[in-house]
Amino acid sequence: MHVDRNEFHPLEVDRIREDFPIFAGDSPIAYLDSAASSQTARCVLEAMDGYYESYRSNIHRGIYHISEEATAAYEDARQKIARFISARRASQVVFTRNTTESINLVAHSWGNANIGRDDEILLTVMEHHSNLVPWQLLAERTGATLRFIEVTDEGLLQLDDLDQLLTERTKLVAITHVSNVLGTINPVWEITAAAHSVGATVLIDAAQSVPHLPVDAQALDCDFLAFSGHKMCGPTGVGVLYGKRELLEEMPPFLGGGSMIRAVQRERSTYADVPARFEAGTPAIAEAIGLGHAVDYLEKIGLDAVHAHEQQIIDYAHQKLSEIDGITIYGPKPRMKAGVITFNLEGIHPHDLAGVLDTTGVAVRAGHHCAQPLMQHYGVIATARASFYLYNTMEDVDRLYDGALKAQNLLARRQG
């Protein structure tokens, strides 16, 4: 399929770029690393400044005006996020630090109480370490067994043998919605339904999907959903755990401290209702408020439009990069994946490629992308990855292409 660089675009990218301070100036960076962390929208920064400048105070329990204002803003952010992912109630949204902490919360609180020695946890080979290592640790604590859905050569989940992998022993299925390396969009709805049919609980790592696609937690019917604010135009330091109400209410606390208690005596305590039970200590108040505004911003633009825009860019990126001699692109074809392209150039270490690209103002990630089992599957140590978001342009792809050719001219001829 040929992509015309100048065809109709689903987003007014020039106008969107004005919302991101980092792209101001005459020679803006070609930022192709949003899968690691996105840029922050100005409205998010302003919302956080507003908190710090005019009503900065701790939330809950403050019997004065600005504390009530801060509490209202924090809880308002929870409402916005609940609506954004179609949660039934705001209390199903727990603020955490990031996806990693959300998953660790489930692994400790739900996992310790529900996983035993004869149980199995089903993962996939394409998981980010954050949705793998917490389960390895849980398996070490409990003696449970980890099993894996394999990945096909084209970068899709090998679901033919899902029926054999899912048994009455399977207590948990923890899968990524979108691969952070390959961009593969996994059929999580089908996997969730299959997992539920054997009585397993399902956690979806939505770090790479919630920022880029419309995600409806109720429609997916997953039991837990985890994502990070910093990948969706929000600040660092705040993430979300969504959970089904009956599960969250049954779960014991994760971290102990202030805010998560109902009454404390010398020897024991009773715990607050959800979500407060899982938010011990002063949370990232400014960041949560900022994330609420990031959600407003994304809703205003529309996740459908964001996804369509990324599809157009990824089509063009595939077409353009495929012209390069000696390139290997990993993962599925465009239209079957999100805005991520992972590749290697023959004879060039991805660190060197990223280094040369950096000299031309193009930021890509190079390495194992916290997905070493997937790298092992492809038999590579590292790859280069360009990832796109609503503010990226076709020109960014051209700059990636030009930089890759520059790296080849500089480095590939030297392979001996």
Binding site: H351, G367, I381, G416
Partner: protein, 132 residues
């Protein structure tokens, strides 16, 4: 300054002392888990002097060029003097500034050399921190 200076590219293209020794007195290998760069250092030592040295492995330009430069530097040196080589010496050999991530690429060869020769396991420049 461009980190892909000709000097570095030359060392990458035509590394000095590349290969292995048949009967090394010291042989040590390590990788940088961050990027998979891998370096092995073989040393032949006689009367406390490095008589011969070879390195092998794979990785990015910086890691391989630094290894090549380091072998040139230490050949003929007293083994005790190698212990004094520091992060700054490597940066001087490379002649370019390196950010924190690429710094590890540049220092891997020295790390392997010191680990093999003296059992010093930390990254050059960070050993003191680890002892505290």
């Amino acid at each position: 300054m461009n980190i892909y200076e000709e000097d570095i590219l030359d060392h990458y293209e035509n590394p000095s002392n590349y290969g292995t020794l048949e009967k090394p007195d010291i042989s040590y290998e390590e990788d940088n888990p961050l990027c998979g760069d891998q370096i092995r250092m073989d040393l032949e030592v006689e009367d406390g002097v490095i008589k011969d040295v070879r390195f092998s492995g794979h990785g990015c330009t910086i890691s391989q060029a630094a290894a090549s430069m380091l072998t040139e530097e230490v050949k003929g040196q007293a083994l005790d003097d190698v212990k004094k080589l520091s992060k700054d010496d490597i940066l001087e050999m490379l002649g370019i500034p390196l950010g924190p991530v690429r710094l590890k690429c540049g220092l891997l060869a020295l790390k392997v050399l010191k680990a093999g020769a003296y059992g010093i396991k930390g990254w050059p420049g960070e050993e003191d921190d680890e002892e505290e």
